[in-house]
């Protein structure tokens, strides 16, 4: 890992950690109340209200891991923290995506959904973890880089 990659990783995961922290805090507040839906961001917990506080805790923990990994980012233990944070996001986002996939196939009154209903079930809003998922994949680059050394 060269100096530029290290610098980029530090800034990138600091920003990602801050965003995750904001999302986590928002979900925690949302779980205390009735949740909220803001544009395409959904923290209503409509599908599983019991899981909403857990998701908030997971997001907050992930953000802490991200933020604590920033210092001396090139060090393997620090990257491991970012990897762990990313895995936490992947698990929660994966669950959310899997829930959509599972609910998109059967129809309301028929065995299989219509094409329109199938596509509509993937429509926004999405939970914060789904938004973080693509950005957390950047860690794969650093894992591969670390594997080369």
């Amino acid at each position: 890992m060269n100096e530029n990659e290290k610098k980029f990783g530090q800034i990138y995961f600091a920003v990602l950690g801050a965003v995750a922290l904001a999302f986590g805090a928002a979900e925690l507040i949302a779980s205390a109340g009735e949740g909220f839906t803001w544009g395409i961001l959904d923290s209503s917990g409509a599908s599983d209200p019991m899981f909403l506080p857990w998701k908030a805790i997971i997001l907050l923990s992930a953000s802490l891991f991200y933020l604590s990994s920033v210092k001396n980012f090139a060090e393997v233990h620090q990257i491991a923290k970012a990897v762990m944070a990313s895995i936490m996001i992947w698990i929660v986002a994966g669950m959310a995506i899997w829930a959509r996939i599972a609910s998109s196939i059967p129809g309301e009154e028929t065995w299989f959904n219509s094409l329109e209903g199938f596509l509509a079930s993937y429509a926004p809003p999405y939970c914060p973890e789904v938004f973080l998922l693509p950005f957390s994949l950047v860690i794969v680059y650093y894992i591969l880089k670390e594997g080369e050394t």
Binding site: I40, I97, E116, G117, F118, L119, A120, S121, Y122, A123, P124, Y126, P134
Partner: protein, 214 residues
């Protein structure tokens, strides 16, 4: 009245409209009532529609869904309970002199069962000073100023346009706004689904190429 889809489960077949001077004063033959009025906006008058045990029935007077044995009736009842028998325009104009919002009340009844529901015009459809101005301009024109005449004409045109263009739930009490069915957000869903598929393909390519490299 357009498409008054009342939720009442009334067996509305024969129609009896009771009012002093029903919508005829406000709606259709615009030029006959207000010389010099501007042309009405584009509008479509469709029959009153009621739900009869969940089935939509159009009240057209002669159309399908009407009881064939009972002919539809149209009655004008004065506020004091007297039925108007002389339905000539001249007489209707005379008795409409003291019209107020209370005169715009309609009872739609099924004659065979006596079931009725009432449709009442909402407050605010007519401007506050409309009837006062109307009385002055239409029945005592010599004492009406040109400003009052112009104001009444303007209010009359606005009110006519409301009757012609506003949906029934904005005109009448007791008419529920139909719930609009939300269009499924297919485009947003299709984009997300495409991203998922592309992501999965990339992941598989990455895994496969990694295995091959080893």
């Amino acid at each position: 009245m357009k498409n008054a889809k009342c939720k009442n489960q009334t067996k509305a077949v024969a129609i009896v409209l009771m009012s002093l001077l029903a919508l005829s004063t406000a709606v259709i033959s615009v030029n006959a009532h207000m010389p010099g009025a501007k042309a009405p906006p584009a509008f479509e008058l469709s029959p009153i529609v009621v739900l009869d045990d969940g089935t939509e029935v159009e009240i057209t007077g002669t159309g399908p869904g009407m009881e064939v044995e009972t002919k539809g009736e149209y009655k004008i009842i004065l506020l004091n309970g007297t039925e108007v028998t002389n339905m000539s325009n001249k007489n209707l104009k005379i008795i409409s002199k003291d019209n107020t919002l209370d005169n715009f009340r309609f009872d739609v009844c099924r004659n065979s069962t006596g079931e009725c529901f009432e449709v009442v015009l909402k407050e605010g459809v007519f401007p506050e000073d409309f009837f006062e101005l109307r009385k002055k301009v239409m029945f005592d024109p010599e004492n009406a100023t040109s400003e009052e005449r112009a104001l009444f004409k303007s209010e009359w045109e606005d009110t006519r346009d409301k009757f012609l263009t506003l949906p029934d739930w904005e005109l009448f009490e007791g008419v529920e706004e139909p719930e609009e069915e939300e269009e499924p957000a297919v485009v947003g869903g299709a984009i997300f689904f495409s991203i998922l598929v592309i992501g999965l393909i990339l992941f598989l390519v990455l895994v496969y190429s990694g295995k091959k490299a080893r």
